[in-house]
């Protein structure tokens, strides 16, 4: 039978069976409204508060600073638009980076239309933001610095603690999009000077449609979704109790297994990187080799194009991605790969493989074996390879 190797865990993950188990009663048994007076609703309320507790302590803060949302995109939108709105009297300048997720970049573009100014910082060839650059970009009217904790495409982990320290020295709020990093690497909002943090359930083997925004106590942030008095009047909408309960369970498991997963996944990651570098010519690793998410592998294979590679991998039962998953639909090469300095035609041939803790070495061997063939086949069809070979290889 054909293998099935799912290596697109940065896009979305399989929900853990324990998580589904935890959610189930909240669909058909404990379904009451969490804001209601009756006891039956109070059980839901309790479940929500328990989840808030688990999540608060997972990033070193109080439960009451955690606000549930429908996912990472909503959290990012809320953080940026909320700060922009609440602090506009202080200034209208925001600092972010060129490699943020579109949930940040498109929100910034929207804010620019509303009269805000946004500085988009460059990154180096590994995708690292320089704290020095952050410092230089600060102006008297800067109200927010937003730098992602780890990049979703190339896996580079940013120097969040340094950037947070700079933000706070200057009395500027600091937001981090931790959608990829949360529950994958340790995060402490106090130590790292983080004022706002976005996360999403489905990236950590939790359910889709649920996420949270951490908001430091005392921030003036208003509602993004107006209406009922849920989430201490800051986020309206009947609470997604099963989603919250599922997120709770997913976080609990992810935190308990983090050390072990980091160890296992980084080993596998480095094994896969080594095999590809050794066995496939003209392959370039994207992202920082060490400051890197444990589960992220991203390569460019010169002379070939990403989609063709993905379809051929798919035919071998291997799920990977090219560029950012949320924007396939767009034909432009990834803005992240362009930002680390790759030329267009090379950025086109990128492949992202992201591990889960279920992946085995044998599966990775299977992947490399197929990848070698696929790359060779596509190169034999590529006019770019033909030109290159004529010039350099004959």
């Amino acid at each position: 039978m054909k293998e099935f190797v799912y290596l697109d865990n940065a896009a979305t993950t399989k929900v853990r069976p324990e998580v589904v188990e935890a959610m189930l009663p909240y669909f058909t048994e404990i379904y009451g409204n969490a804001s209601a007076v009756y006891d039956f609703g109070q059980k839901c309320k309790q479940a929500i508060e328990d989840a808030r507790e688990t999540i608060g302590s997972s990033i070193g803060t109080k439960a009451s600073n955690i606000y549930f949302t429908a996912g990472g995109s909503e959290s990012d939108n809320w953080a940026l638009k909320g700060v922009a709105e609440a602090y506009k009297d202080k200034g209208k300048h925001i600092i972010t980076t060129k490699i943020e997720h579109h949930a940040i970049l498109h929100t910034c573009a929207y804010l620019e239309q509303q009269g805000y100014e946004v500085t988009y910082l460059d990154v180096d060839a590994d995708g690292l933001v320089s704290p020095e650059d952050v410092k230089k970009a600060i102006r008297p009217d800067t109200i927010l610095i937003s730098v992602m904790f780890a990049n979703n495409e190339i896996g580079t982990i940013e120097p969040i603690e340094e950037i947070g320290a700079i933000a706070h020295e200057h009395g500027i709020l600091f937001h981090t999009d931790a959608v990829q990093a949360y529950a994958q690497v340790p995060i402490d909002v106090e130590k790292m000077h983080i004022d706002l943090l976005s996360a999403s359930g489905h990236k950590l083997n939790g359910p889709k449609g649920i996420g949270f925004l951490y908001i430091r106590q005392g921030l003036k942030l208003k509602s993004f979704i107006h209406g009922g008095a849920q989430e201490r009047k800051r986020r309206a909408g009947t609470e997604n109790v099963p989603g919250i309960v599922g997120l709770d369970k997913a976080v609990e498991i992810a935190m308990a297994t983090m050390d072990e997963r980091i160890k296992k996944e980084s080993e596998l990651r480095d094994y896969l990187i080594a095999r590809i570098e050794d066995e496939i010519p003209f392959a370039k690793l994207n992202g920082h080799r060490v400051k890197r998410l444990p589960n992220n592998i991203n390569f460019c294979f010169r002379f070939i194009e990403g989609e063709s590679m993905l379809i051929m991998l798919d035919m071998a039962g291997i799920c990977g991605s090219s560029g950012s998953a949320c924007t396939s639909g767009s034909l432009d090469p990834s803005h992240v790969l362009l930002a680390i300095g790759l030329p267009h035609e090379i950025a086109h041939g990128s492949l992202r493989l992201t591990l889960s803790d279920e992946i085995t070495k044998e599966q990775l061997d299977y992947v490399v074996d197929h990848l070698k063939e696929i790359v060779a086949k596509l190169r034999s069809m590529s006019p770019l390879y033909e030109d290159y070979a004529k010039k350099h290889l004959s």
């Binding site: 063709s308 034909l331 034999s380 590529s382 006019p383």
Partner: protein
């Protein structure tokens, strides 16, 4: 996402390769996505295309349309080959998803570029053939909201 025919031509592309002494060769790039296609034609003294070969750096649709285009032009006269439009290629493939329509233009333009090269080499004029453009771009069809 793709029709069975597209998948077939993608998995088993017909006529991939180079040609030693082509009658005409054309390389075109797609400005919209940065993909590239090269088409080789072997044309006999009666102006009949005996063989077409291609190489493509591009998405699944680009590979499949190249493959189909080489099949469609083979055996046709130079003049008939001009009628192998991107629409004809798409129809032969049972259609493409809307975001992939531009890919089929690569194939049409690559044929045209190869024919132009052939015409230049032989000092002939082909009725209705325009000089190739380096970067082809379809008219933006903004989705209506």
């Amino acid at each position: 996402m793709y029709s069975e025919k597209v998948m077939d031509h993608f998995q088993n592309p017909r006529n991939v390769g180079e040609m030693e002494n082509p009658s005409g060769v054309g390389t075109v790039g797609n400005a919209k996505c940065g993909d590239i296609m090269r088409m080789y034609l072997d044309i006999d003294e009666n102006g009949i295309i005996k063989e077409a070969k291609f190489k493509t750096f591009g998405c699944g649709a680009a590979v499949a349309t190249s493959s189909m285009a080489t099949e469609l032009v083979a055996g046709k006269t130079v003049q008939e080959a001009l009628e192998v439009t991107n629409k004809a290629v798409m129809e032969a493939l049972d259609g493409l998803p809307p975001v992939k329509v531009h890919c089929s233009l690569l194939a049409e333009q690559a044929i045209h570029a190869a024919l132009w090269d052939y015409a230049q080499k032989n000092g002939i004029k082909i009725e209705g053939l325009e000089p190739p453009v380096n970067d082809i771009e379809e008219l933006e069809e903004e989705e209506e909201y």
